[in-house]
Structures are given as structure tokens and as C-alpha cells.
């Protein structure tokens, strides 16, 4: 049993799981926004990055991880709401490339502003738990207390989001506003407010993700920390289907594990190529995602 737990494939699966939940969280944020506003938020990663900076750069002297994390999440929620109210609101009903361009522009603004304030030098974040892998008879299991904390946090976030959407009044209104804005408005749902709430939720999830990424990866926190993670998160969301939260979660974890195997057995440069290949193949076979039930398109 011990030999099995420390074997190479198991190590890959555990390592992949830790990365995969991150991709799942990014994908989940994208899906939340896509479902409610039909906008693919290219600034998702950058917004999360800025929130992490607010939490960990402004409060640096206190260095209490949990306070900083809380501030980052609040910053993310506020930033998400502000973004929806100011930039995104002007884009509803415009041709579908306009929001793409606007969010790419916003990405550029956020990354430049962050670099202007905090420079491009990498900043290492404190970790609340040890990042050293547990040992079994002198051999490492590919799982550290911190990695476990990451997975648990991700699961908690996912469960909270699911509970909010399925069992609360706000969740019902959110779903109604996304499904049919006209009818919802007639029935008394304040659709515009729901769209703002959707952006705030997604952006809050993003902030948690960015903090996890920045303290886990050896890159630390830089203005472009989230670029690569965002690309993988998008690929997960696109493969799972931008309309399907479950698809986002499953494909995020599956991709994380697959990439770990590719990186371990082939070459770490091959990971992004395999990802691109998987994306292309899956989009050609199922353009609306593997987990989306019916193909839909508004003419």
C-alpha cells in the first residue's frame, strides 16, 4: 500500500488534482459570468490578480494570511461589481466581439496598473500550512498540507456556489435572470442587480483562486501570474461547455491530471501543446462542450 501511494502514477494523480481544482475554479468563474451575461470574461485572471495584490500588498505588515485572504475576496467582489456596473453594462446587446475586445483591453489596463504600483518583481505570499510533502517510510507522497488545503478550499467554494444557486432565493433569481431576463423582470426579479451579483460572485471566486495560485506556484504573485492559469481554465471551461458548471469542474480536474502525466512522462513544454490539441479536437467534435445537453444558438 505504501509503495502504491508513493508510486509515480499516484504522485501524478495527486499533483494533477491540486492543479486541476485551480483550473476548475477559474473555469467556474468563467461559466458563472457566461451563463448570466453571455460574456467571456478575458479579464477574469487579471481581476483576480489585482484582488490578490490588494489583499497581500496593502496589508503586508500584518502578514496574517486569513485577514489578507478576506480582504482579497472582498476586493474581488467589489471589483467584479464595479466592472459590471461601469464597463460591462455598456456592452449588453452589442455585437459579440465588442465585449471580447473590451475585456481584453481591461486585462491590459489591470496588468499595467498592477505593474505600475507593485512592479513586475515576483512577490512570494505566506502560506498557512506547510508546503513540504508528507512522507511515507522516507518517500514523499505528492501531497502536502498546503495542497490538501487548496483542494479542500476549492471543494468548499464549489459547494457554497452550488448551494447558493440551488437552495437560496438569490440563487433562484440568478438562474431566472440568466434563463429568461424578460419574464424574470415581469415577475419582479431585478435582473440588472442579478447580473451585478453574478459578476461579484464570479470575481470573488477568482480572488480566492489567485491567492491559492500565487502562494502555491513557484512563480509567486506577479501581474501576469494568472495568464497561463487563465488559459488552462478557459480550455477547461470550453471543453466542459461554457454553459455547464459541472462540466467546468470535471474537465478542470481531468485536465489537471492529464497535464501532470504529460509533463511527467513527456516534457513540460508539451503541456500547453497537448492542451491546445485537446481544445481543438473537443471543439470540433462538440462545439458547445462535452457536458452541454443541447446545442443551442440564437440566430
Amino acid at each position: 500500500m505504501d509503495a502504491f501511494l508513493t508510486s509515480r502514477p499516484v504522485a501524478d494523480i495527486l499533483g494533477g488534482l491540486t492543479n486541476g481544482v485551480i483550473y476548475s475554479l477559474v473555469a467556474l468563474s468563467l461559466v458563472l459570468i457566461w451563463r448570466s451575461t453571455r460574456i467571456l470574461n478575458f479579464a477574469q485572471g487579471a481581476m483576480a490578480m489585482l484582488a490578490a495584490y490588494v489583499g497581500f500588498a496593502i496589508l503586508a505588515p500584518t502578514t496574517n494570511y486569513w485577514i489578507s485572504m478576506g480582504v482579497a475576496v472582498v476586493a474581488g467582489i467589489v471589483l467584479g461589481g464595479l466592472t459590471e456596473r461601469t464597463i460591462v453594462r455598456a456592452l449588453y446587446g452589442k455585437p459579440e466581439i465588442n465585449p471580447v475586445v473590451a475585456m481584453v483591453g481591461f486585462l491590459l489596463v489591470l496588468e499595467s496598473v498592477a505593474a505600475a504600483i507593485w512592479s513586475t518583481v515576483s512577490r512570494s505570499l505566506p502560506t498557512p500550512f506547510s508546503i513540504v510533502d508528507w512522507q511515507l517510510r522516507g518517500r514523499p507522497v505528492a501531497m502536502s498540507p498546503f495542497a490538501l488545503y487548496e483542494v479542500v478550499t476549492a471543494v468548499v467554494v464549489m459547494v457554497v456556489i452550488a448551494v447558493v444557486f440551488q437552495f437560496t432565493r438569490v440563487g433562484l433569481q440568478l438562474r431566472a435572470a440568466a434563463l429568461n431576463p424578460e419574464v424574470s423582470r415581469l415577475l419582479g426579479v431585478r435582473v440588472h442587480r442579478m447580473l451585478t451579483v453574478g459578476w461579484m460572485l464570479a470575481s470573488g471566486v477568482g480572488a480566492i483562486t489567485a491567492v491559492l495560485v500565487a502562494s502555491n506556484y513557484f512563480t509567486g504573485l506577479t501581474p501576469t501570474t494568472m495568464d497561463g492559469v487563465f488559459a488552462f481554465g478557459f480550455i477547461a471551461a470550453a471543453i466542459g461547455g461554457l454553459d455547464s458548471p459541472v462540466g467546468a469542474l470535471v474537465s478542470g480536474v481531468a485536465l489537471g491530471i492529464a497535464f501532470q502525466f504529460v509533463g511527467d512522462y513527456l516534457n513540460s513544454n508539451a503541456i500547453i501543446l497537448v492542451a491546445l490539441g485537446l481544445l481543438i479536437v473537443s471543439l470540433m467534435v462538440r462545439p458547445n462542450g462535452v457536458f452541454t445537453r443541447r446545442a443551442q444558438r440564437r440566430v
Binding site: 478575458f42 466581439i97 465588442n98 491590459l108 499595467s112 505600475a116 512592479s119 513544454n269 508539451a270 471543439l283
Partner: protein, 394 residues
Amino acid sequence: MRQRVLVSSVVGVALVIAALDATFGVPTTRLRVALALLGALGVAALGGLSVARTRRDHPLVTRVLVTVVVVVIALVATARLSSNVDTDVAIGAAMTIVLLGLSFLTGSSGQISLGNGAFMGVGAFTVAIWANHHATSPLILVLVLAVAAGAAVGFLLGLPATRLRGPYLAGMTLAFAVAFGAVLNVFGSWTGGDSGLQLPNAENAPRWLVHLYPASTASLSVNSVWLAALSVVSAGVALLLMANLFASRFGRAMRLVRDNDVAAELVGISLPRARVVAFVVSAAYAALGGALWTVVNNAVTPSTYGLALSITILSLVVIGGIGTIPGAIIGGLIYAFANSLIGWITTHTGLNPQGNVASQLNGIIFGVLLVATIVFAPMGISGALRRLWAHRSR
């Protein structure tokens, strides 16, 4: 109508003044004669344009004449500017080619690409790799090879693009832009890994151009004139081809695909074919621009062709005006002089030029302009100018 006459006479007078200035301000008689001939060509083209019947009955001739005027203005200017500015012009003219390609893809067929920086990289590395194995190939062959390589990669990526719309396509091309660096790394023995490649021989000015200048002129400054001229003429050719493509039957079919793809299919346009062709054209243009960059810089580094470049390209197209040829030229001009402008702002606001804020000013300004443009004036500068124009004419 009156405005047209006004504009063409203003351009004409400016051209004559520029030619006179160039003629008497330059060191040798030979160069003076050459510039005078060039200026005369521009004035003649402008004269042809001022005939109303030409504009009405001969659209092809009109496009050729407009291109000649634009190219002549740029060439006369490069002969008089310092060699630093000439290099900026060369870089900007190459960027104009790239912008024309993306403008066609987005403006005509309604697709969006965040991967055009990587397509530029394909062209740039094709030139560098080829030059390192066949040092003596003629330049035109190298450029054609780069365009072919760009078109081939564009075709491969265009195949899945036929089934994707808007945000999905943008995401896929973004993934391509991120993956491009990894591809270069995998083929590190060819591409030189992180440090990139140097060209074995710099592209030097031909003998006839050197002879126009006094013997004491530094070869560097003649070379920069030559490189600028090379880029400007290439941009002119690209511009003319693109203007014809926009106006052709295929260009009109593309716009129908963009505005209403169901209607386009009903009148017999093959959507996949139209989309793949648009993708190939845009990739080929980007590759030509990247190839010229390698020739101008005499070297290529992989970090140039990251995601940031693709985003810059998209910003320039949108700020200039999506789907318009003047928009691509405006975008190219902005790119050529953005660094000088930002340097000017930095010195006049007393920012520390080595500081964080100064180094990020570029991204902040471009990003804000991009968001503001798409929210307030989605057709960009050329669209705004055109609206102003229509307003004035009434």
C-alpha cells in the same frame, strides 16, 4: 464634394512643399533629382485622382493612385527624417500590414483573433531560420517563404475556426498565442531557444541607393532609409491587394457572412470556406509583417511574440477602426510613434523614466483607449472621422 477638392489640394500643396524641401535640403544632386522625380510621381497620381471620372469609372486605377500617393508621401518623408525615426517608420509600416490582415478577418468576416502576434512570430522565425541555413537567398524569396509559412499555419488553425464563433474562437486563438512560446522552445535547436536568432548578414542598402548619398554618409543611415523604404513599399503592395480584396466579390461575400451568416449560406456562400480563407489571409499578412520586423531588426527574440503583442495588435486595429483600410494605417502610425510619444510624456510630466509607472504607461494608455473606443466609438478613429466628414458634408 467641396471637401474632397479641399483635401486633395491640401495634400497636393503639402506634397509639393515636402518635395521642394527635400530637393533643396538634401546633400547631393543625385538625391535631389531622385526625390524630385518621386514627388512628381506623387503629384501626377494626385492629379489623376482629382479627375472625377477616374474615381467614378475606374475603381482599380483609383486604388492604385491612392496607394502611390500614400507610398510617395512616406518615402519622401523617410529620406528627410533621422535614422531613428526611419526605423520607427519601418516597424510601423510592417505593423500596418499586420493590422490590415486582422482588420480583414474581424471587419469583414466577423471573426476575432488573439493569435496574430504568434502568426507574426511564424513569419519572423521563418526568415531567421532560413537565413541561418541559406545566407545568400534573395530577400523577396525569404519574404515569400515567410508568407507561405504563415498561410500554412493559418490554414491549420483556421480549420477548427470554421466551427467556432466569437468568444470560443477568441479563446482558442489566445491558447495558440500562449502555446507559441512553448512550440519555439520544443524546437529550441532551430529557433535558438530563449535568446532567439541573429541574422548572419544584415540587409544592406543596394548600391544605387548608396550612390545617391555623399560618400561620407554613414552606411547605417542609408541602410535605415532602405529598410524603411522596403517596409513602406511592402505595406503599399499589401494595402493595394487588401483594397481590391475588400471591394471584390469575395470581400462582399465576407461582409454578408459577418452580418448574417444564415443569409450568406442561403445565397450559396460556403461558410467554412469563407472563414478559412479569411483566417489564411490574416495569418499571411501577419507573417509578412513579422518577417519584415526580423529583417529590420536583424534579429528575432521569442519574447517579442507573446500574448502581449497579440493584444497590442487587436488594440491598434480597434482604435484605428475595425474593417477599414485608413484604420490600419492610423494604427500603424500610432504604433510607430507610440514609444516616442510616451517618452515625450514621461519627460514632460517629470516621471522617473526608469520607474514602474513610466514603464507601464504604454499598457495603461493602450488599455484605456481600447476600452473607451469599444464603449464610446466602436468604429474607432477612422469611423469617428468618417462620421464627422458626413456631418460636415451635409
